[in-house]
């Protein structure tokens, strides 16, 4: 099943996402894990410190559902 995921990225790793956009909609084939989403976006999962789906922290192997909002966190980069 095809559908849209709303993706946001917090912090400096946004520059490694398509078009360096902080928030964007991404069409994907479901079912889909967060890791698979990152690979579809051509982003190395190691760049991501954490993930929240609909406001709840999730591991990178968690499944995403149609209509989910996925938020990726950059690692803090030192003061």
């Amino acid at each position: 099943m095809m559908g849209i995921i709303h993706v946001c990225v917090r912090g400096h790793v946004v520059k490694y996402f398509p078009s360096e956009l902080e928030c964007f909609d991404f069409p994907a084939e479901f079912p889909l894990t967060i890791l698979e989403l990152l690979r579809s976006l051509n982003v190395d999962p190691l760049l991501i410190m954490g993930v929240s789906v609909n406001g709840t922290k999730q591991p990178k192997d968690a499944l995403i559902r149609l209509g989910d909002e996925v938020l990726f966190f950059s690692p803090p980069a030192g003061g």
């Binding site: 912090g11 400096h12 030192g78």
Partner: protein, 615 residues
Amino acid sequence: MNGYAGNILRVNLTRRTHRIEPLDSDLARDFIGGRGFVAKLLWDEVPPGADPLGPDNKIIISPGPLTGTFLPGAGKLEWGAKSPATGGYGDSNIGGHIAPEVKYAGFDAIIIEGQASEPVYLYINDFDIELRSASHLWGQGALRTEAMLKEELGEKYQICTIGPAGENKVLFACISHDFGRQAGRTGIAAVMGSKNLKAMAVHGTKTIPVADPAASLEIGKQMFAACFNKPGFVEWTPQGTAGVTDWVNEVGAFPTRNFTSGFFPKYKNINGEALISRIKVTDKACYACPIPCGKYSRVRKPQYDVHVEGPEYETIALIGGNTEIDNIEDVAYANYIQDEFGLDSISGGNVVGFAMECFEKGIIRSEDIGGRTLNFGSVEDFVWLSEEIAYRRGIGNILADGVKKASLAFGGGSERFAIQVKGLEWSGYEARHAPAMMLSYMTADVGAHHNRSWAITFDVATGRDKLEGKAKRVTELQHIRPLFDMLCLCRLQWVELGFELDWYPKIFQAVTGQARTWDDLLAFSERVWNLTRCYSLREIPGFGRSADYPPARFMEEPIPDGPTAGKYMPRKVIDRLLDEYYAIRGWDQKGIPTSTQLCKVGIDFAEATIAPLRV
């Protein structure tokens, strides 16, 4: 000069005098405040060859042109001196609430020179300046001293202090403020101690001239709103920098067992989750900060009950992983102990880890330390050694000079695992499989510190075995990040929230009236980067390429376990990184800026000093 208070305060401790001087317009034209003023004033005013712990060294304290105005993170204060840790250029900055007070008191820089004959503290209430006796404060802990001065002067005073480590001129002593904020690196607190200067208390009531107050206010409001609207804003605060602990282990870069490894199997006992679930009381922010990274904690065990700000990530890495203390309560307690003694917990954890490895290898023997042990994982040993260092007792007197000098004293091959560059202990990222991060540490102007360039995600994104483009990216970051220390702004809004850099020229123009592009501002930063290199070249015999190498462990010993097992960075790779870096910088292969480069960046005044070194 909009954005500046217009004055420099010069305090002579020997003569117990002070003078208020007008801010030099050439200085303000050619160098942005904070780190810019620190670098230029050190170059001009500290006599070449001065003893860092003698009366000729000077402490330069400077807020920036945006300090105290209305924008996110405008509360940093830069401290500088000839570093007793490295013998070269030294600076460190502090957050909290003191920077705006310095500016409101009317000063763009404070120059402290000479040496007091007895302990004093510097009292500043606008232009009411006094050197007051600190005889009742001398010997007190850094946190306790702040509490005593708050009690004595009132809450409205913002206070910086040193602890016993600074008094005893420990070369990694830190300056403390706001009960847990520190200017920790390069040993400027030891310079304070050498001058018998225990503290500085500041209160100011003046205004700052702003070129376009209405525009400044409007842009400031927009900047705050932009921060609040960033994706993930709410999620940032709970763990602060401690939240990165899991990730650094995941990429195999977590300092473990004196940088033997990059992975600590028990990291979940000391990570951000452990911090918030077991010891955190509340969040704590600096002046004008919408994203409080400070975590105020309380730790209670039968043996202790203390409050501490932290631990932040760097402390978790250096006290936790690096000495293998494996629970957040003990890490926080060790953090508190080092804070109260006035020790930088980055160098402090690094030095104790080094000593523990020396003990394990028999280089430090039980009979050398009164029959006791110095074991990885022991908080009791950690706390005991921290006290020995702070008071320069026994073996602590050797370790108080940092790992580079201690390894020369101990011998036994310990220089291989003295994890430092230029005499400054390495901070919280193992970099044997991260060439850009390795180069960042190697070439940071103050020594092995991460805040000049942080590039691990760049390494991950572009390939950790690839070298192409790494030197270029490090150079770019070394201009961007130190620019924040010239403007005296916190970097976290940018790096953690992804706050756009375009905001800064806009607010800079509204406050100062100077129309500058971001690239214009970066040119100021490049000027200072070259000047600090020249400063260390002038002060340290033989300084240059040889000072830019990492310790032998990183070039010769494969990481034994974890995600980066088997990785190390051979010397030929290090040499290639340095060759490319120097070429990009316009430095020769000895790491010395060329004459053309000095002219290009506008510091041709350094040419007469540097030219003889190129021969």
